[in-house]
Amino acid sequence: MRELINYTLHLADNSLILGHRNSEWCGHGPILEQDIALTNIALDLIGQARYLYQYAARLINENPGASDLIFDASPVTEDTLAYFRDTRQFRNCLLVEQPNGDWAQTLLKQFLFSAYQYPLYTALQKSADKELCAIAEKAIKEVSYHLRWSGEWIIRMGDGTSESHKRLMHAFDELWMYTGELFIPSEEEKLLLNNGISANLVSVKESWMARVEQVFVDANLPLAHIRDQKPTIFQKGGKEGRHSESLGYILAEMQFVQRAYPGNEW
């Protein structure tokens, strides 16, 4: 049970943190339509996070003692999980918490993540856990939209002007090191895979890599740039709660009101 709770939180944290990052663009997009696109994607991701947190909260409430998390308030709700955990208790991968940077970096981050979420949720639709199955079935339609939109932007930028190409290459150098962790199963993922609950990250990676390489080819980005990266560049730790400094700043902003005025609503 502890593994299922932590895995559900991992999935939820990924969606919440990327959703929050995307929401930072609200009102700042290069043109109105793209501003709206990113905020709509943020909304989808935060919506997915809500279902996952609701499920995790239910598991925690129904199985006292199963989780390591201790909260003042009871019962635990989706809000408790989003607003009252600290950085070490967040299990999102490092990729999603990285700063937005410019448009190229934001879009590459979204693309790399959507290209991961798509095969992941495809696999989870066959999960032995009925609730994760249902959430994946719901979310995959939204994810395919995100993937298409962000993938088209990668091609547009890579195959665009020398400036957009240069910026995309820079974004790649900033973000690629955080992709390795996506495919290293945590202890929870290993155990849940044996029970048919989590996804097999080996096949998720195959599908992810095929899509990323295809988009890189279409975007006139050198494939060698992906293939020549040394394995030592890859960072990890997010799934275990060891984060880059960025996450603390996100939580400070996102959690402040609930920490200062617990239970406040508007």
Binding site: G19, E33, Q34, I36, A37, N40, I41, A42, L43, D44, L45, I46, G47, Q48, R50, Y51, Y118, K130, C133, A134, I135, E137, K138, A139, K141, E142, V143, S144, Y145, L147, R148, W149, G151, E152, I155, V215, D218
Partner: protein, 171 residues
Amino acid sequence: MNGKIMPELKIDTKTIEGWLAEVMDPEVPVLSVMDLGIVREIRQENGNLEIIITPTYSGCPAMDVITAQIRLAVAGRGFKDVKVTQSLQPAWTTDWMSEAGKQKLKDYGIAPPLPKQTVCHPDLFQMEEAIQCPHCGSWHTKRLSEFGSTACKALYQCQDCQEPFDYFKCH
């Protein structure tokens, strides 16, 4: 009343559907929850009422308002303890939208979803769907943005009458 009209009394499901046909989507106020196809099941047991709904999009902010309005609509008819449950599976699709609902959308100036999904897979740079302008009926239209004013819509413009319009995208 203890949340029940009378323990043995069962209300005709059609009657309850009639009540729900008055609960409108706050974002698209011409569509009721029945038109949208988000009411999946109406259960009655011992005078207790449970209504099962499914969200359109995961992050749709209208769901909380819709849940509250469904409660109000049936509370007004004597069911005080109605349970509104969200179910995710099977996932909502625009195929569940009623024909009457599609016509209402069109009359309201929003192009209704196409009957068959054509762009719900992630391939890049697909052919744009041919969408009919809800204002002048022309098929000579162009997509401005895949994302519109709400998660369920995309933004189009008619190349004949030049009017921009929302398209309730297939999902």
